[in-house]
């Protein structure tokens, strides 16, 4: 491709924006090393690795992380199953009400979180259901379903239907065909849906805030702590989780890259 002399402008701009995106991340990481004891962790006081050596100092943090992990796992798992079934129906079958279903599935994604959270709360108030752990799970499944459909659907589209017919032709009944051919084929999409749902649930604050009752998820804990001063251990945990997931993402990218390279050279 022909490059003009101004060819450096776009890449430079790209790096600038990426730095901008990472700026708050760097701040949070830096302040995990801030030498403070109590109060607001907003002014630099000096460097220490003390907080990294003592991440369990605040039990509420660990507890809220545990709660969030369980909720994220449950809601992502249920939403992925429900979403995969819907995606299969939408891609595989022509049926009455198909395009209505498409619009209907889009709506929860297009609804502001405030409305999702408050309308669910309205339901729970009317039914006199006490909000807490299970109402959070219900809410998270609800907003994860549509995302799961979108993710799995992208994988099923372009899936050769003859593969399933071939399995049936080779003495697999419907269940075996699903287990041996369909599922392995759509598994990357299903896993992606699960991970997306997990991440969305793990980081959700707005909807959870309406339906959490007295249960403290990880974002709920951060929100509460922000009023009285966030312990530096929060920064430590946020950084640790960030590093862990980043490493996992890069390893995954490398594996995929290598796999692509391997299947490319015949």
């Amino acid at each position: 491709m022909r490059r003009s002399r101004s060819g450096w402008v776009l890449p430079a701009y790209m790096w600038l924006v990426l730095i901008y995106l990472f700026l708050p991340v760097f701040v949070v990481i830096a302040f995990s090393f801030n030498d403070i004891n109590r109060g607001f962790n907003v002014v630099w006081q000096g460097f220490t690795i003390r907080h990294w050596l003592d991440p369990f100092r605040v039990p509420d943090i660990v507890e809220s992380l545990g709660t969030s992990l369980v909720i994220a796992f449950l809601s992502a798992a249920v939403a992925t199953v429900l979403g995969t079934l819907i995606a299969l129906a939408l891609v595989r079958y022509r049926f009455r009400g198909r395009s209505t279903t498409n619009v209907f599935l889009f709506l929860p994604m297009a609804t502001p979180e405030v409305v999702l959270g408050s309308s669910l709360l309205a339901l729970f108030i009317t039914l006199r259901v006490a909000t807490g752990f299970w109402t959070i799970v219900i809410a998270h499944i609800l907003f994860n379903i549509s995302y799961a459909v979108v993710t799995v659907r992208a994988r099923i589209t372009g899936f050769d239907r003859h593969l399933e017919e071939a399995a049936m032709d080779l003495y697999s009944d419907e269940w075996n065909t699903f287990r041996r051919v369909t599922l392995p084929m759509i598994l990357p999409g299903v896993l992606a849906a699960f991970m997306l749902g997990f991440a969305l649930s793990f980081d959700d604050f707005i909807i959870t805030n309406f339906n959490s009752g007295t249960v403290q998820t990880w974002p709920m804990y951060v929100w509460g702590a922000s009023r009285r001063g966030i312990p530096p251990q929060v920064n430590v945990w946020a950084t640790a989780i960030f590093i862990l997931t980043t490493v996992a993402m890069f390893v995954n990218l490398r594996i995929q890259g290598r796999r692509a390279a391997r299947s490319a050279d015949v």
């Binding site: 498409n102 409305v115 669910l120 219900i138 980081d203």
Partner: protein, 300 residues
Amino acid sequence: MTVELAPPPPGRSAAADRAETRRRRVPYLLLAPGLVWLFIFYVIPLFQLLRMALTTGNLQAGYVFDWVWENFTQVFTTYQPQLLRSLVFALATTMITLLIAYPLAYAIAFRGGRYQSLFLLLLLMPLLFPFLMRTLAWRIILADQGVVVQTLQNIGLLPSNGRLLATGWAVVAGLVYNFLPFMALPIYVSLEKIDNRLIEAANDLYSTPFTAFRKVTLPLSMPGVISGSLLTMIPAAGDYVNVELLGNPQQAMMGNVVQNKFLNIIDYPAAAAISFTLMVAIVILVLVYVRSVGTEDLVA
């Protein structure tokens, strides 16, 4: 004379009938669990919200459902400032985010080379940090004694006692930051799909690079621009975290009123009315969008 009888019309085979019925039922069985969930926990709550908006009363005395529309008129009178602010902030956020995100997506798609997926990863990586923590970090960056404010004061863009925190600017800046990846990603996806040969063809047909961009690249990337804008505008209009963490009560948006009245002051009918109004506004927006791009593209 013999009358030749026509053979009886061949009946459809029972097997075919059974298979047909089964096949027609399958998609609905697959859809049912998920759609039932969405119906119970999405559709019914919205009705519940509407119902709640039409009641009067208070927590102590109880609520009476009496078709009172006053709560809705209140939205456009008492809460008009918040309503307008939500609209203005959301629009400003969308436009600024679009201006920043489009060149970014363009750079990744056309200049990323073989590192495209790495750049995408970098774009999404900040999302692995808790959303609240990132927003709180801006509080440190934009602090009154911080480098940013000092610099702006020194070059005279901000008066010497001027501040960024607790202003509308900080709120919009926070929103822009939050939604930038959600704007950039769909634009990248639609740009990446463009066949390079189309642009070469445009150049071949006597287009300057700028005309080629305006006549080929930009129109073809419109689906990405539209979905990115929706992904930004909708949550921005309903956000209340940025006002809470970066602004002050004078910049309250609809979301702040809803969460405040639901969770702190406990004024359910008013809160429900505001929330429902927000929903209706979004539905109108989405319907306009559906008409312009078609249903398949929405979820695809």
